[in-house]
């Protein structure tokens, strides 16, 4: 088997698997938005504050998904392992 093709295929698999990391943040962000909704329903006058905090919290929660995205992009477009074969 061509070792380069094997590494490339495995890297593609790894990139796909890395994106499983998007699962947790998805659940977490949905939970954040739901909690923000109930907070706004309870206190509509605090909407501006709650929305700003929610967006900040969502961005923080999203960073782990972004890390997996960066790793997936690295594996597909700038694979460092291909040069080692």
């Amino acid at each position: 088997m061509d070792p380069k093709a094997f590494v490339a295929g495995m890297s593609a698999l790894g990139a796909g698997m890395a994106m499983i990391g998007g699962l947790g943040p998805g659940i977490g962000e949905g939970y954040i938005a739901g909690q923000a909704c109930s907070a706004i329903a309870r206190q509509p006058e605090s909407q501006a504050n709650v929305t700003r905090t929610m967006i900040l919290g969502i961005a923080m929660a999203e960073s782990s998904a972004i890390y997996s995205l960066v790793i997936a992009l690295l594996l597909i477009f700038a694979n460092p392992l291909l040069n080692k074969v």
Binding site: S63, L69, F77
Partner: protein, 234 residues
């Protein structure tokens, strides 16, 4: 075959391979000139009773001062020029993709540079408030066994800030490139006389991936800067 490339290298400074002049640098200079011209335009011929453009400039200053007051505490107004600089270069650097330039923030070097400046600011403020010995002592809080973790968290601050911004913009770039090629493949597969699928759909998704995510990421980057620097001052 779809190709998503990093920023192009135009030339090398002094012919030295270690000093490339990339697309990002050129675009960032264009963005900087644009921001400079915008500032000059908004603040030219200032009057006691503001007209339209002066009112816009005053509103921006008031919003940023309010944000700084709220997130960093009082007596931190000297940081608002830095915050608004970060915000504007991030917004216009990301929105450069709407004017057919490559996004400045779609390059890790840009965001990592900003994050390193912020990290230096955090360390400077920590040393200023606690003294150098107090700063070193802060690593052993709450017990000495936590020292490696504290050092790791100090290092991971710029890494997480820069990767968050870069990942969002670069992810949007890759997705819009892939989608454009998929739409063009669809149009040519159906033998349409005009490329119907590429007409409106990229505009709608670009609204999210370019406009929304650019503004949100600029806001988050500056909010995090304020939060980190503000907490370092305590």
């Amino acid at each position: 075959m779809v190709e998503v490339n990093g920023p192009k290298v135009y030339t090398y400074l002094f012919g030295n391979k270690a000093l490339p002049i990339t697309e990002t640098m050129v675009n960032y200079w264009i963005v900087m000139v644009f921001i400079l011209l915008l500032c000059l335009f908004l603040t030219s011929k200032m009057e006691k009773i503001p007209k339209a453009k002066q009112a816009v400039a005053e509103k921006i200053v008031m919003i940023v001062d309010g944000l700084v007051d709220q997130n960093m505490g009082k007596n931190c107004r000297q940081y608002s020029p830095f915050i608004v600089t970060l915000m504007f270069s991030s917004v216009f650097g990301s929105l450069a993709s709407m004017f057919t330039l490559r996004s400045v923030t779609g390059d890790l070097n840009t965001t990592l540079g900003w994050a390193l400046i912020v990290s230096g600011m955090i360390i400077y403020n920590k040393i200023k408030t606690n003294g150098f010995v107090g700063f070193l002592k802060g690593f052993t809080e709450p017990i000495w066994i936590m020292t490696p973790l504290n050092i790791l968290s100090e290092v991971s601050t710029p890494v997480s800030m820069s990767f968050r911004h870069f990942g969002n913009i670069a992810g949007g770039l890759v997705i819009s490139t892939l989608m454009l090629s998929a739409l063009s493949a669809l149009s040519s597969a159906l033998n349409l006389p005009i490329p119907l699928f590429q007409l409106g759909i990229p505009g709608v998704t670009g609204l999210y991936f370019d406009l929304f995510s650019a503004c949100i990421q600029a806001f988050i980057f500056s909010m995090l800067t304020m939060a980190y620097v503000g907490s370092a001052k305590e």
